[in-house]
Amino acid sequence: MTPGPAPTAPAAPPPSAPGSAPPAGERAAEPAGGGVGDSPPRPDGTLKVTGEFAYSSDLWAENMLWGMTLRSPHPHARIVRVDTAPALRLPGVHAVLTHEDVPGEPRYGLEVRDQPVLAAETVRYRGEPVAVVAADHPETARRALERIVVDYEVLEPVCDARRAAFDPDCPLVHPPGSVPLRPEHNPRGNVLRHQPIRTGDLARGRTVADLRERADVVVTGSYEVGMQDQACLGPESGLAVPAEDGGVDLYVATQWLHADQRQIAPCLGLPPELVRVTLAGVGGAFGAREDLSMQVHACLLALRTGRPVKIVYNREESFYGHVHRHPAHLRFEHGAAADGRLLYAALEIVLDGGAYASTTPAVVGVAASLGLGPYEIPHAAVDAYGVYTTNPPCGAMRGFGAVQACFGYESQMDRLAEALDMDPVEVRLRNAVGRGSVLPTGQRIDAPLPMAEMLERARALPMPPPPEAAPGRVDPLALPGGAGGAGVGASVVRGVGYGVGLKNLCFSEGFDDHSTARVRLEVVGGVPVALVHTAAAEVGQGLVTLQEQIARTELGVRRVALHPADTSVGSAGSSSASRQSHMTGGAVKAACEAVRARVVALARARGLLAGEGGGAVGGADGGVRLAADCLVPPGGAAPVPLAEVLGDAVVEETREFRHRPTSPLDPVTGQGSSHAQLGMCVHRAVVDVDVELGLVRVVALDAVQEVGRALHPRQLVGQIHGGATQGLGLALMEEVQVADGVIRNPSFTDYLIPTVLDVPPMRVEVLEHADPQAPYGLRGAGEPPTLSATPAVVAAVRAATGRPLTRVPLRPEDIALP
């Protein structure tokens, strides 16, 4: 295997950067071949390129049945009658289950237990599961669904999120008191969380009108963000196998095994230990797999029939079968002095949560706390609302509330620049946060956050050749819209725009965020092998590679094996919030350090190491190092092979890792250090716009991102590319179009995701200012570029057209000049 081309090398932190030195001792570990900082191949790579990697939809078991789901055709209706008998009479059908067949808790939910396993009296979104069948063939199952009779009494749908939030006469999606909302979230009517923030004079009784008078310039804007779909290519799927002990083994593509287990078991009426969940191959996640989809259904059917049951959603069903990114309605007002310094901001953020809560409360918390973005604003009033409607449920998607806010505040920064006739980068520089800045929640930024440097670097990146000079200019392929766009070069205008995104990394607001790792070191076939076992979900981000790298670095071994992720080890938390490198990485590191300390002690006990020295975990163990499968004593003594140190011994340690505690937000003032860590990405987009046709071609989408420390530079660049690509999609094409509660475009013909032709070359510059709070100084990297790419692209289109462009995704009719 020859090493691949290095991506743009991470830039070394400039010597003057404050806090750029790594935490003491953190770099003492050897960057062994394939260790931390290297870019070894993915351990699952060979299986993936040969098609032999087993995704959840590839699973098969002897005697297996196929499960399928009957879904509501109405967004809001009362169920009058369900008759399953005609379906049960069909040969090959083994079970037809409704809510009456759920033996335990009738509802589940990540944050609020409000989602029925199968709808009972009411359906609250089009596509809500009403019944499930198990049959010997998918076709039999499909025909069985057609035979289930359900009579509905159609109710008025609640489709308008602003009405749901503010109209006291709006019908309620959930009867009062029927769902366990938390009082500190200020629930009221259809609002399941309202998070206010008040700072400065706006916390001291002054009004926005007072501040407006003190500002030299005021910009206001109403913005909308459409519903984005994660559109994982691998559909929701899994296989449930009934076990002899009355429990069930579930193999499923998920982001969080223990959260699945915690939600499934009560619904089945089983203790958690009888619901064993193992990760199957995950074909992308991006938030869509944080909630349950088919998990409980497959387990119910397996337990009922006594046979393995597999469920695989098709593409259309997938659009109904998972949560989406919250559509957002934003009303932002910013006031500034004539020199560009921001004085105040007043924000209203309404997020459409759809029929069930999913992670809406947490999304509201993120949108509120980061609503001002990376800008110092002394006086602020933020009101963020998450509401119930009868639209498809919304929850986690890469960026999680911060994406929507970012489109709003970055659009406002561009408006402000225009109002002041100032360069958009300059306005951002004047107000940029950095270490020591205070967020509107009162949280002080205590890690390096070199925003000004990032903006300067982004501005200094080389520009693509101007349209006139670009080769093949007359070639229609070089025009927006490509060969089918029918454009002519004369109507093409170039635009450049910037976007900056600030994202919380790891779970926030007091959540007990932790991960667990078990590491075992033993001699197998004469060589030391480390076995790493966690419940962390590999979803494509490359966490399996990082786990191996950390074990190699910390234990000095060449061979590392990974145990399949399952619930037989403690929780790793979710593969979301850009948190796994930090959290599971931290857990693997801690477990390895504990193993290393025991190996050193073992060497002493066996007389292979002289002296009593240190042995401090995390340091150099009294000068002892583990490297190249050997224990290297201090002072130049000869290395001792680990195989000799270990002999027959098996050294195993399990460790939990936690980031520093965070605080909830005060329900009235919004104060609280709610975030563990922050990440930032700056994007510069260059676009060509056909101003007659309203078509956009993204010419360049270049990024500068602060990552703390690059553990795997090549995978890291892939994360930044992937995040930017999804941000580009939100800017230009991706929207689940919902009309009267019905998804109008549940296919890849009508829901467009960027193809290889839509995505330009993307230059990436990576800054490494270590975060002293995090293992190796790292910061998660997957989400920040998803924030910044969208406003950068839109700003570039605005620069080309002069049109206001207040809604994403942009539509040709918004762009084309009248």
């Binding site: 390129v49 290519l233 098709n314 593409r315 490359g542 296919s747 890849f748 013909t749 070359p761």
Partner: protein, 191 residues
Amino acid sequence: MHADITLTVDGRRHQLRVDTRTTLLDALREDLGVTAPKKGCDHGQCGSCTVLLNGRRVVTCLVLAVAGDGAEVVTAAGLAEGGDLHPMQEAFMDHDAFQCGYCTPGQICSAVGMLDEAAAGWPSAATPPRASAEGAVAELDDTEIRERMSGNLCRCGAYAGIVSAIGDAARRTHAAAASGIPRPAREGGRR
């Protein structure tokens, strides 16, 4: 209605009886247990199910199994001969041209088929008009690769790696076999 058909898949001959409405993708995945081609949409929109059918790349969700009677199917699994990865597979590894990997078997089959098409002089919409007329692909640069690979979606957004991997593989294949495949414009397709 059912029909008896013969399929040779990755060198193995299978005889099977299928419902005539069965797609080639379902016949491969469900009847034969060949799961290298993935189902991402079942409607010809994503390219995850791409295989080489008698040497040409096709999306198997749009082909009826009966239409493939007697055909030779090569999946991503079949490209790796005797345990050795195909140069395209090696290039995908080296360029980190995937994340979740779900689109990857389809991308790789598509890329292998695409290189053969280019070698045979098939023009694309990106081929300059003169070269098209002469039945020659001047150079398999990134623009050509992007145009020819635009039917394969990658939701993880690994396109940069995919384009550079294919350029690299084209060069490797060219060097190894001197098969007439045009050289990419830039070293390894890097930019």
